[in-house]
Symmetry: C2
């Protein structure tokens, strides 16, 4: 039935074991801590409705016609100003283009930089969607452990000394997915120095940055990038809404030139109406106040989940309290496997993602699980944590 | 300033000479026949406004949340029914997914099938955006001339006999871009037979099919595909609106499985609100009647442009009257170059696209130009054709 072979690049991306486990989430009686979704009630639907009605009344021809690949000029201007004023992002050698969600920024960066067999260094654990994008360009993935204060730079430098094909280092330095950890300022600076010394680019994936519930703000790596070593991917998915698929990339001009080519080949341009909506939203509404309301929504969810996890699972798992983002990382004792725990948890009607699915080699046991607190309600968090406690007890008895 | 090399694949895609020529279109006093855009007045903005208001009132949480990579289930169901009922597309071994415009379907097909050095056969001339997508996966492009009744199959078979790496043949069989030509039924059948005999896949790119102004309907290649040899790319860009970036791919299940993986890596999913808008539009409104209104809008534009081109340029160029689509193809006498004519035309305040930009090797002279009649108004067509006549006279004197 399949007369033609797939390309090698796409053959390397296989459905992960995670899919089997996540099938339990299709059961509506299962409480899911397995998602990466923002809370549905946080979306500014009323504002969108007003804005869209205005745009489709006043400028329907422009909004529904082909746009340019770099993005809606008004949005780019507003966004560049915001990135500079608020985050210090966007040096004179940089530019910013609009992409169809942060994922597309990652995929296009891989396409633009990585030749077959080039080494892509990632944090381990790291975001599965990005790892698969790198795999789909035949990159050799090498994972470096994420310590409590971010990437283990000694291990990274050891790798850089022996592997001359490291072209790109992929990091989620703030509220990392899945660990929730934050790379320290010192490590951010040191990583930039390593990029100069060993001649590689850094891909800073930063979708969660604004969702900080406590602790001190740490500057982005990009804001300290004085030589054009950082490709920065941002997104409106976690602070406005993900379904609209609008993100952005800030990178040195030479990268933007080819990223624009890649963008043109990929989907010509990002949905123009949605770009206009975001632009109008930035002009007419207060995004910072909206983000603050999301923080107020998520902080109690995080606190409740942390407390209940400690109560129900604290004698088994080590629960890390993240200062921001969407995820709690729970580490099992040595000899236990997150995948097994997630399977058991499914039987107790609660879903989580096994740590192994965030690893370069996802076939090995890994003693951790990822739990999401943004999507479930407070009631679901209460029930789900109790269920997870039962699952932990079951697993402890089993071993 | 550029410390890291681009990937080889993206290096092969260079800004075309066409960009320089098309710069004249930024001058608002220039009449552009250079676009590929549908008429702005044809977009169903009022209907969109009503539908979006309803969706964002009734189901905002669903519309703005993450969706699934295959596409909005309701849209897929409606679309599959429409494709089968109206076009006979969608055998039991096929499935249909939603993509971010037809371009993404082409790009993902290339990614899924083509290894470095595989041969991609295309029509020559052909659609630049697709050719660049193939280039960006290091395919070896080989062009086969488009005759009045479509691809020259004798030349194709000669190539197939000597080149064992032909994995994919890319065609726009109906109202081809740029030539406007239609592949005959006999050739469509013969191409399917060749695909079986020489073991390759066919990528049928079909954005213009419904825009037929006269002549007999010819069935799509996909509708005659009994063995799963055809990947079919369709789009709502030319019959509803392009800015929304919603297209679709129908292909055998084994291809859809990997195309879905590619889709997930590329942009996770297509803008969900826009998918819901199209679904609601298909349910509540009459797309066929809307397409009929577009045909009534474009036919007189085509007729006027054909008449005026014959009047002003007929003694110099051979003007082909297309039975549908958006483009008129004009062939210059031997020894003349479309690129030179387009440069001269820019000076006369009218823009067209040189034929060379649709060729595998776009650095060679090519005696043709492409003219678009869907976007300009009747007045602009009148003026522009007269200007083009002046440009032709100038060029004739020059040589």
């Amino acid at each position: 039935m399949q007369p033609i072979d797939y390309s090698k690049r796409i053959s390397t991306v296989t459905p992960s074991a995670i899919r089997e486990i996540l099938k339990v989430t299709q059961d509506p009686t299962v409480i899911s801590f397995a998602a990466g979704n923002p809370a549905t009630e946080s979306f500014p639907a009323k504002e969108f409705n007003e804005i869209i009605s205005k745009i489709l009344t006043e400028r329907p021809g422009y909004a529904l016609q082909y746009g340019i690949s770099e993005g809606y000029p008004v949005l780019r201007t507003l966004l560049k100003k915001r990135l500079w004023d608020k985050y210090g992002i966007g040096q004179s050698f940089d530019d910013t283009i609009i992409v169809t969600g942060g994922q597309q920024g990652i995929e296009m960066t891989a396409k633009t930089l990585l030749d077959d067999g080039d080494t892509l260094v990632c944090e381990e654990p790291s975001f599965l969607g990005a790892l698969n994008a790198f795999r789909s360009y035949n990159a050799v993935l090498k994972g470096i452990p994420v310590e409590k204060d971010g990437l283990d730079l000694e291990k990274l430098e050891a790798l850089l000394k022996e592997d001359k094909r490291v072209k790109l280092v992929y990091v989620i330095p703030t509220f990392q997915n899945p660990s929730g950890r934050v790379m320290s300022l010192a490590k951010r600076k040191a990583l930039l120095e390593l990029a100069e010394r060993y001649n590689f680019m850094i891909l800073e994936d930063n979708p969660y940055y604004d969702l900080r519930y406590d602790g001190e703000v740490v500057p982005t790596i990009k804001s300290m990038d004085k030589t054009g070593r950082v490709v920065y991917c941002g997104s409106f998915s976690k602070v406005i809404a993900p379904g609209i698929r609008v993100g952005y990339v800030t990178a040195p001009d030479w990268m933007i030139a080819k990223l624009t080519v890649a963008k043109q080949l990929s989907d010509v341009h990002t949905n123009l109406l949605m770009q206009m909506v975001i632009a109008e939203y930035l002009e007419k509404y207060d995004l910072d106040a909206h983000v603050e309301s999301i923080i107020e929504l998520y902080r109690p969810k995080r606190d409740l989940m942390i407390n209940l996890l400690n109560e129900h699972c604290g004698n088994f798992m080590q629960i890390e309290k993240p200062e921001g983002g969407l995820f709690i990382w729970a580490t099992l004792p040595e000899g236990y496997d997150g995948t097994r725990l997630c399977k058991i948890a499914g039987g107790y009607k609660v879903a989580a993602v096994p740590g192994s699915s965030f690893c370069v080699d996802d076939s090995q046991p890994y003693p951790a699980i990822r739990l999401n607190f943004s999507l479930p309600t407070m009631e679901q968090i209460e029930k789900g944590c109790a269920f997870l406690g039962e699952a932990c007890k079951f697993y402890q008895k089993e071993v």
